[in-house]
Symmetry: C2
Subunit: 281 residues, 2 copies
């Protein structure tokens, strides 16, 4: 076999608390979000020029390069096909790292379990500074609730019992750097994230997730004016919306955004979770 495939869903984080640690397997976040039917499809191959290509262009994706090094992979060509915007709160870098781990394992010495590969991708993403909790959420699928921070050895992920094919809508207004926010003072953010998580565990529904996410965005001081205006417009139309962490992206469940007159992008709640593709994928 010279080629292998994988898919990892996008992940809209609704709220989170940051739990840094010197050990990247222990570092992570607690919080909740939505995984999406749209995500990153990864093809790895021992043929062709080695390196990383994103949507057909040569790219440097730090988390992907760290995954390849950790797996002791042979020189591989990694092609990432992003079905979602990169850098706008959809966890594209985590999806790329996780998809690369699942696919490259098939072409690397030894064999690893899914949890081992999720751990490799989680640590790579943490070390690259591009995310703290997307990878474990993408490995879970559905509407993941990250109850304990960290990779699979230490973290604990549950999920809402949300209906299949739940529609998710969003409008993206621009980038917000994950690195910049995570490098700043995260104490206020983490306190707000803990309150939101406690409320969600009390009433574990999609409605609570969106409402607590918006309470979090305001308490953490992360919502830009355009985001506030868009959420207010959805609320005036009788719906609920919040902001994807970390991007200037407003999201809602069902037809919350289209009912308020937006022309949103859409996906459904992600099922299945990240997975290796068939060999003839």
């Amino acid at each position: 076999m010279s080629t292998a495939h994988a898919f990892a869903p996008g992940h809209l984080t609704g709220f989170f608390g940051a739990y840094p640690d010197a050990d990247p397997r222990v570092a992570g976040s607690r919080g909740a979000g939505l995984t999406l039917s749209r995500g990153v499809a990864t093809t790895v191959s021992t043929e062709g020029d080695p390196g990383v290509w994103l949507d057909g262009e040569r790219a440097s994706v730090a988390a992907v390069e760290r995954v390849l090094a950790a797996l002791d992979a042979p020189p591989l060509r990694v092609e990432l096909d992003a079905g979602l915007p990169v850098g706008r709160g959809f966890g594209a870098s985590g999806a790329a790292a996780l998809g690369t781990a699942l696919a490259a394992d098939a072409l690397s010495p030894g064999a690893r379990t899914v949890a081992e590969l999720v751990g490799v991708a989680h640590a790579a993403e943490v070390e690259a500074g591009t995310g703290l909790g997307d990878v474990v959420a993408q490995a879970r699928g559905g509407a993941p609730v990250r109850l304990e921070a960290g990779g699979p050895e230490r973290g604990r992920v549950d999920a809402l019992n949300a209906p299949g094919s739940t529609r998710v809508e969003w409008v993206a207004f621009g980038d917000l750097s994950t690195e910049t926010v995570l490098d700043g003072d995260t104490d206020r953010l983490t306190a707000a994230g803990e309150r939101a998580l406690a409320a969600l565990c009390e009433t574990p529904t999609l409605g609570t997730l969106v409402a607590e996410s918006w309470r979090f965005a305001r308490a953490a001081g992360l919502a830009a004016d355009r985001v506030r205006e868009a959420v207010a417009r959805v609320e005036r139309a009788g719906g609920r919306a919040s902001m994807a962490m970390l991007g200037r992206t407003v999201f809602g469940v069902g037809r919350a955004l289209s009912s308020a007159g937006f022309d949103p992008e859409t996906a459904t709640l992600g099922a299945p979770a990240a997975r290796r593709g068939p060999d003839d994928f």
Copy 2:
């Protein structure tokens, strides 16, 4: 909403060790198997005659009735559509219990997370005496490896990084009662299951899973003559096969059985895992 839907995959157990406990949330099994694209589709409704129907006929499924009691559900009509044989090692009762939990939650007071519902279904299945590890495997999907026994609070489940759409084949020769085997002396069986699990963790591949499953079946003294003859026929054709625990069912991966001249039933490796259906399912 008056109707809700769920699907849970079938689960072929390759090998296991039994870990009984007075607390059904702690009792369980360790081992490995394959979840299948074929399984049990469950529809629950507050309309129509309450009770449980299996493939259109009134039925008594102890694990399902225990789930409904545990959820404090209103009187519900539960329709189970089994896409797999019942009582032949496919985990149909676990799939029925888990599907009922996911769907009935939508029509019951409060809201529960997926892990809470998996815990309810696991305990119901253990108390009914019809299985020890199917429910947590069906909640995981793919090729689950049950590293620690018990429901979600105590158990730990990983999975092989198997290619998507992997074909699974089987031939069923008849029933073998799970209750009878689990009520007997399980020490020899559990020792053999531990050896198989250690070997699989060393080399976590589908090939190891099938080979160790067969070594387990022979060591545990569970393989009937017809099963031994069928596995030998597959091996003479250059393939590998084993026996589903607990049924007189011979299974293999890829075209192992059809290449040996059998006319097998087929499915693909289960992805996604058990899940609630869309409301318009």
